[in-house]
Amino acid sequence: MPTPAETEALLLSLRVAVWSVLGSLPLAIAIAWLLARTRFPGHALLNGILHIPLVVPPVVIGYLLLVFLGRRGPGGMFLENVFGITLGFTWQGAAIASAIVAFPLMLRAIRQSIEGVDRRLEQAARTLGASPANAFCTVTLPLIAPGVFAGMVLSFARSLGEFGATITFVSSIPGETRTLPLALYAAAQVPGGEAQATRLVVISITLAMIALIGSEWLARRTRHYSSGEP
């Protein structure tokens, strides 16, 4: 059985990943729709900026977050003074770091599935009395459900494995920001920590397997629901 410290790291990892996925999902759907269905000045630029986390080292993202959203950063001071929210060195900060690093993965999956939906179905819905929002919710959204789900799984997996941005932005505070990868790294740094590291490796792999099997099962359910057609 995992020790209390291990359980803590496991639960923290799950909490950070879940919040990171759920928090970024509405934004990802909205932006994916914008990119897939509209053309506006700066379309390519926005698309490029959103893909930066995919191509730069996560440490760069973590450092930028530290500069802008850390306690001394302009964004961090604004959040602290106006809303009383602190992101630096908190698990919420870890969730934000994860969300940003995983965002392009979720965005790409959702955008591709929106592009796969026949717009003529949405037109048909409009002629049958559905407003654009209603057509999106009752026709488009159910049809892209498998893509949305795939995006969530990718993003969740990326969040569980997040290391560089997290340790740079919120450090590795046991119980607050020390997720499984960070705990593993900490154990590996200590002389004689091999046994501890091995246990964390087993926990990580078990968690990943459970998540994979679970997502496969859910994906089948979702595909059945939206009846196979993109």
């Binding site: 003529r120 037109q123 048909a124 409009r126 002629t127 049958l128 559905a130 196979g228």
Partner: protein, 367 residues
Amino acid sequence: MIDVAFTHRQGSFSLDVNMQVPDSGVTGLFGTSGAGKSTVADAIAGLIRPDAGRIAIGETVLFDSARGVAVAPERRRIGYVFQEARLFPHMNVQANLHFGGRRRGAASPDTFEQVVGLLGLEPLLDRRTRHLSGGEAQRVAIGRALLSGPDLLIMDEPLSSLDQQRRDDVLPHLERLAADTGVPTVYITHSIEEIIRLADHLAVMANGTVLACGPIQDVMARPDLPVLTDRRDAGTILLTTVAGHFDDDHLSALRFGEHTLLVPRTDRAEGAPLALRILARDVSLALEPPQRSSVMNVLPGTVTGIHPRGDGHVDVSIDSGQIIRARITRRSADDLSLKVGLELYALVKSVAFAERDAFRRHAAGEE
């Protein structure tokens, strides 16, 4: 009246449309592909916004560029049947049928039953849409449009994606719809057969403009519409009444004005209205009534127009109470010294009536 008048530019293609559609019965919108028919449908339904113009159903203005009116498609109450069925793949047939009603105030159970019965959808209700054949899917799409409570139904070549057998499967349903639902319909097609079976009114489009619009027999009788007259099966339409049957000879007598026509036995009751299509190539002309000829139908009339064609033929319009057209060779026309005002006889071979698609109902209200 449904007024459709607008201009619209789409890339290098520009439309200048002006037509009035009666607010009952079926109006055929006929034209070759690329004439702009679907763009007209999209403009009426609100799926495209024309550059300028006005579209109104009776008093209800749907689009008026001068007053800045452009009603959103979901508020227009236009039932639109597309070339492809466009059913929602994540819903079964029943949910597809209810989609419009849920959003526009559900159709009464009676209406639902009526539409389902009319289109033969009963056995399909619980099916998933991907398990439907093309003809079944198109019938569901028609039902879905009808059940959204439309003020106007637009069908954009609903049969064009189907093979001949499926067409024959759907067409009778369309004929019954036209008669039974009372929803004014614009039926877009490039098939003259479908027009003749379904439409009471006809609008003819070419190159982005409406060339003619009016009662079908008037438009079909016009000699100046190449999309109609350049066809091998060019002809006119006669509105007649069944006068009686001769069962031994397998013939029926039809009356129009003071004339009687003998045609292959029809199963229409005596007194029923019946429209006929007479192909110009099946009509020949004589200056005197032929003696002892096998041609049964000889109609006296007056030449009202002579229209030379490029291919050595001449189209002759004859007023015999209604307009009949004969396509004869130029040499025959010269031999007969045809001129406008000449009285002569139009000889109509009975076989011209034998085509199944020659029988067409009158406007639903007259039946």
